[in-house]
Symmetry: C2
Subunit: 313 residues, 2 copies
Amino acid sequence: MILTVTDNEKLAIGLDYGGKNIKAGLMARDGCILTEHQSATGAELSYQAVVEKLVLAIRELLVGNESRVIGVGIGSPGLIDLEGTTIFTSPNFLYWKDQPLKKDLQKSIDLPIFINNDVNMLAIGEHRFGAARGCRNFICLALGTGVGGAIFVDGELYRGATGTAGELGHMTINFDGPICKCGNRGDLESYIGADYLVKRASKKIRGCPELTPKIIAEMAYQGDRDAAEVMAETGRYLGVACASFINIFNPEKIIIGGGIAQSGDILFRAIQDEVGERAYTQLVKNVEIIPAQLGNRAGLMGAAATVFESIRG
Amino acid sequence: MILTVTDNEKLAIGLDYGGKNIKAGLMARDGCILTEHQSATGAELSYQAVVEKLVLAIRELLVGNESRVIGVGIGSPGLIDLEGTTIFTSPNFLYWKDQPLKKDLQKSIDLPIFINNDVNMLAIGEHRFGAARGCRNFICLALGTGVGGAIFVDGELYRGATGTAGELGHMTINFDGPICKCGNRGDLESYIGADYLVKRASKKIRGCPELTPKIIAEMAYQGDRDAAEVMAETGRYLGVACASFINIFNPEKIIIGGGIAQSGDILFRAIQDEVGERAYTQLVKNVEIIPAQLGNRAGLMGAAATVFESIRG
């Protein structure tokens, strides 16, 4: 969909939703965020209820800015078609199957809507405004409930044959490893996805009633030795995967986002050590492995940037 | 290097060399091969001696065709820079380090020379004339002494940040697995590279004095149960890797070349079974896993095609 827009004062809505939260913002072309919105997704509700919640978030940001907003970009978890119309499946909404999200939103929202995978939107955000500015070939990993991925090739997001490329968390790192929710065995997510990480940690760290990846990372940062060992182990698993990504992609950067990526040096040192043991030296010396910069705004910023770039003005 | 050539009768020399053999051919733009050459590389000799052998192969094809040959394309094993000037390292020539191959050949050959990784040239050959015709997003695996790889994105070879992308054989499939020549542990090559494959097979197959991957594949094809089990096991390792490639790349095709890829259904059935267990169903239904079509000519055909496409006429 190509419209002609000439007004520099135009705004885009970027929205990023997962199993728990909807995060959205009203963004100018230069990445400046004017207003933000956060609400609960209600993943336990029906598909229609989630659609209604997305519509309400968009409407809240639209009020008073109707004449300036040119479109809505949405980062969604799951496998999505190339055209951004349909969510085939989503790990956070197990009962969804081939949901025509764009059509259903368009019933209530009379603006151009652009939907892409949430980690793809995060990578676009980091590329336009964050840790990947100026990079042509890089990959992103997003560590959360699951482990998401995105691939940039020659300055563009790589989508694959049908739009679902970049499931980097579902690369096998040990073919005899634990079973992952996706059905694979021993993939990266089955070692470092939130549930699996907490399960590993709970064997080592006693006396903490409610462990989460963020709490474990925080404990490690504060000097707790058991938590630090869990984070280092997580880094080694990530390092195994990053070494493979380096040998496969010869990227300029590997950008790691998500709560635990902000936990300081322990994680990144362990990644780097493992990569040094495993990947081609010739390739390791050309790659930087670094944390994402935009925190939990990366997805909505990438989504809003997609609106500006899809509607040429 | 861009020259202007208008004569349809022009020819290119394609050359593909490995640790054992030099294969070369004189090719027309349409893929028709007029003459072929084969000789021993002499990997045990000095770098200068190998250069001399490459020069002799090129000269042999040039004799009598000097006015028609517009350039030379070369597929070389190893990590090569984006510009195709330098072989950083090569698994078949362990004593090579940052060899300025293009400059050294150019001292004796006064024609444009284009050098790329041998599996990249193979993939270009299969894309222009073989199993990947018309494909935009696919990957190639070449099973030989090592396990090589190449990646096509949106109809173009993907080179990565410094030209060395596509080392698909060095993706880890079991982080506790055997040590590979490259220094990694448990990568695909450490399970199915020729030496490792023969070592596995020799534990199962007794009474055969000299096992090679080709002999094992042939025995399996003829109905030997132990050899068939070795090939099926090889297929399962390949299937683990292919499932990861499918989740990562969402490709249209995975093309598998090299001697054992011609061994019939046993290998491909095992690959497909393992992929079905591991990769996203949504992606599996969109991908074909098939053998390469051009046999051991793919590399030289891709190399010669590169000459025609780099020299616009």
